[in-house]
Amino acid sequence: MSLPRPIIAISIVASLLTSAFAILASNNLLPAVAQDTNAVRKIVGGQTMGYGAYETTGDILDTANSGTKLSNDAVVDPVKYLRSFNYGRVSTLPDGTTLREFTLVADDRQTKEITPGVHYNVWTFNGTVPGPTLRATEGDLMRIIFINNGTMAHNIHTHGIHKAEMDGVFETINPGGRFVYEFYAEHFGVYPYHCHVQPLESHISHGLHGVYIVDPKTPRPPADEMVMIMNGFDTDFDTENNFYAVNSIPFYYMHHPIEIEKGKLVRIYLVNMLEFDQINSFHLHGNLYNLYPTGTSLVPNELTDMVTMSQGERAILEFTYNYPGVYMFHAHKTEFAEKGWTGLFNVKDSSENDIKTATASFGEK
């Protein structure tokens, strides 16, 4: 029953100190962070109807608008990627066949920015997600030199018609290894290519995917052509995507609207490479598009503003805007839309500008 007094005293002091610290810490008094009263005040919110604006001296977290900027180590430049087509190193074989040589280097060691402020270990073909868009004309000979510069086995599986040994499935190329894929570009259409090493889901969702386009021998009508690959990233490894996008960066085309011309044909090569979710979709505002599923026909099979695709499905979309202005396009699975898969077309009336410039120059004369 009787305890030495010093022990009791020490116990009481210790308990008081502990509780005081705990209470202070939980009441946000420790550690003290000085408030800079002269800091620049920034405003967040207010872009969406019904949402108030908030003025802060802190930082803005806003990837959907231009509030937060991408740094230089983004996984892809969505503007550049959109209209880039890689036709390869072209030469003609003795029999007159066009040979197109491509080099694809796989790497799995890079950590890159996938949305402003979020860095993620991406697995890439030639350093970007998606990999470069390969393009050929029906009948061309494709030669893809594949180099595995990563730490795991990788390979390339291209959709389309080819010999079994060029399918890429049974050859796994070890780190430091090399493989040359050769096949004829057939049939015309739009195809995905991706790594086919298991676990497949992991290799594809980390970024080893890209688009391969085969043009018909008689080219399609001239158009403003672009590639959109619907993808996403599961950054916390819970087999659910945290981010959705076309061309990897969520909301990018929201704050960098894609400029197109009024009255000019737009052609989108659309591929769904989204993992984990069953389906994805593409909805266009203020317009309808001609849908060419898989791009293997020159005749559209539907005029619509909504296409739903499963994994690996793709299509060509063709449309022309008759009214200038800003139009949204997004997944009509709105969850994806609100996690990044939303963008804008800015339809410009260039004829109006032409007329204006013409009148101006006429007036000068």
């Binding site: 939980s26 908030y54 803005i60 977290l61 959907a64 402020g117 979020v118 950054t235 969520p250």
Partner: protein
């Protein structure tokens, strides 16, 4: 024999120490291990850093509170992981929303930040608030029903005071009215009621420990080791109250002894002093408990976890009336009936009034750690009181009966009934 040896050794050690060691040497001896420890830490932070750092430290962010203000949702987050984190974005119901973070999106270890998300929320709807760190990991916390944040205002404060009065003070005072009844009981029935009190208190103590564990696991990040804090605080408060109560009794007795030499008088005084001290201890213990209960009520009202209803108030009233009984039981047999009404009322207030203060603090500045600390202090205090009641009961009974004290049918029945009453009335209160 052993005793003797120890004493001799002690003597030897003492004399050797005195002759051989100066004060500076003593200080040096105390400091040497600390200096070596410092060198060791410097080595670990310097040269050894490269080969000892294996594995990847995973970030962890805890959302501590979520507040709903007009047109915006405010989350207080804390970096509870081993590394500094940078917050990249915020979301509501897993949908990305533009937000502001203050003071900065860079949150050092254990520091906090305020995330403000402009959002037209609807009262009563459930929401999950999330933040994503720069490496893409999302941390989230849910709210079952959004309710506007309580701002400290006179209206809100008096509302809480009213609730606290109904839930804390009135029931305890009602319970005190059992005093005349307890006084007139026979010895066996009295023992029954004293044990009943012990049963009530043991229930309250266990309840406090469980409740604080629940708060610890739901609201406090692992890094604060809140569960061990519960045990620590309870044990220390037990020891502290043990010390205080012994002092109280000792002081009263020495005063008595100096005033009179009559042995009979001492016995009489002891009979008076001890029960009053015990009753006071009971009310202090219950006071701590009710403070913790008030914190929980205030916070629950503010965070929309419970809807205060007449039914709930009735539940708390029934539950807490028994606390009054616990205070009067030790006082019943002190011989003279001169237990002052004032003294009793004061004890009632000591036990009940902390509820009001608790609801204010819980409602306006809720801190889970504070709730845990006060609930654990209450638990420790309550167990000390139970100990005091039993040792007092043993002291009062005849030497022959001492051994059978705990196996006495009246005592056991009382203890069981006490716990059952608490259990039954506890069913009326949501946990």
């Amino acid at each position: 024999m052993i005793d003797k040896m120890e004493r001799e050794e002690d003597k030897l050690g003492h004399s050797a120490g005195r002759t051989a060691l100066s004060a500076t040497k003593m200080v040096a001896m105390a400091l040497i291990p600390i200096v070596i420890l410092g060198v060791m830490i410097a080595y670990l932070l310097g040269p050894a850093k490269s080969f000892l750092n294996t594995g990847i430290p995973l970030p962890e962010v805890t959302i501590e509170t979520i507040e709903f203000q007009e047109g915006k949702v405010i989350a207080l987050i804390r970096n509870t992981g081993p590394v500094d984190v940078t917050i990249a974005q915020a979301d509501i119901n897993d949908r990305i929303h533009p937000a502001a973070i203050e003071p900065s999106k860079e949150v050092p270890r254990l520091a906090t930040a305020k995330v403000v998300i402009p959002f037209p929320w609807k009262a009563g709807d459930p929401y999950v608030i999330g933040v994503t760190t720069s490496d893409g990991i999302r941390f989230s916390k849910g709210v079952t029903a959004a309710a506007p944040a309580a701002t400290p205002s006179i209206g809100q404060a008096s509302f809480f005071a009213l609730v606290g009065t109904y839930v804390g003070i009135i029931p305890v005072l009602i319970g005190l009215l059992w005093y005349p009844f307890i006084r007139r009981l026979g010895m066996n029935a009295y023992r029954f009621f004293l044990s009943l009190t012990a049963g009530l208190l043991v229930f309250l103590g266990m309840d406090a420990i469980i409740e604080s564990n629940k708060i610890a696991s739901q609201n406090v990040a692992d890094v604060f080791n809140a569960q061990i804090l519960i045990a620590m605080t309870a044990i220390l408060s037990f020891l502290a109250l043990l010390y205080v109560s012994r002092k109280l009794v000792d002081r009263a007795q020495t005063r008595t002894v100096s005033e009179s030499t009559s042995r009979v008088q001492i016995n009489q005084q002891e009979l008076l002093v001890k029960p009053v001290a015990i009753a006071l201890m009971v009310s202090i213990g219950i006071g701590f408990h009710n403070f913790g209960e008030g914190l929980a009520i205030g916070a629950a009202v503010v965070f929309g976890q419970i809807a205060l209803s007449t039914f709930l108030i009735i539940g708390f009233t029934l539950h807490n009336t028994t606390e009054g009984l616990a205070i009067v039981a030790p006082l019943a047999k002190i011989g003279s009936a001169r237990v002052l009404v004032r003294k009793l009322a004061l004890m009632g207030l000591i036990a009940g009034a902390p509820t009001i203060v608790g609801t204010w603090i819980g409602g306006f500045f809720f801190s889970p750690i504070a709730a845990i600390v006060f609930l654990s202090i209450g638990a420790g205090a309550i167990f000390q009181v139970v100990y005091a009641i039993y040792s007092w009961m043993m002291g009062k009974s005849d030497t022959n009966k001492t051994k059978t004290m705990f196996s006495d049918a009246y005592a056991i029945a009382g203890f069981a009934v006490g716990m059952l009453i608490m259990y039954a009335t506890g069913l009326l209160v949501p946990s």
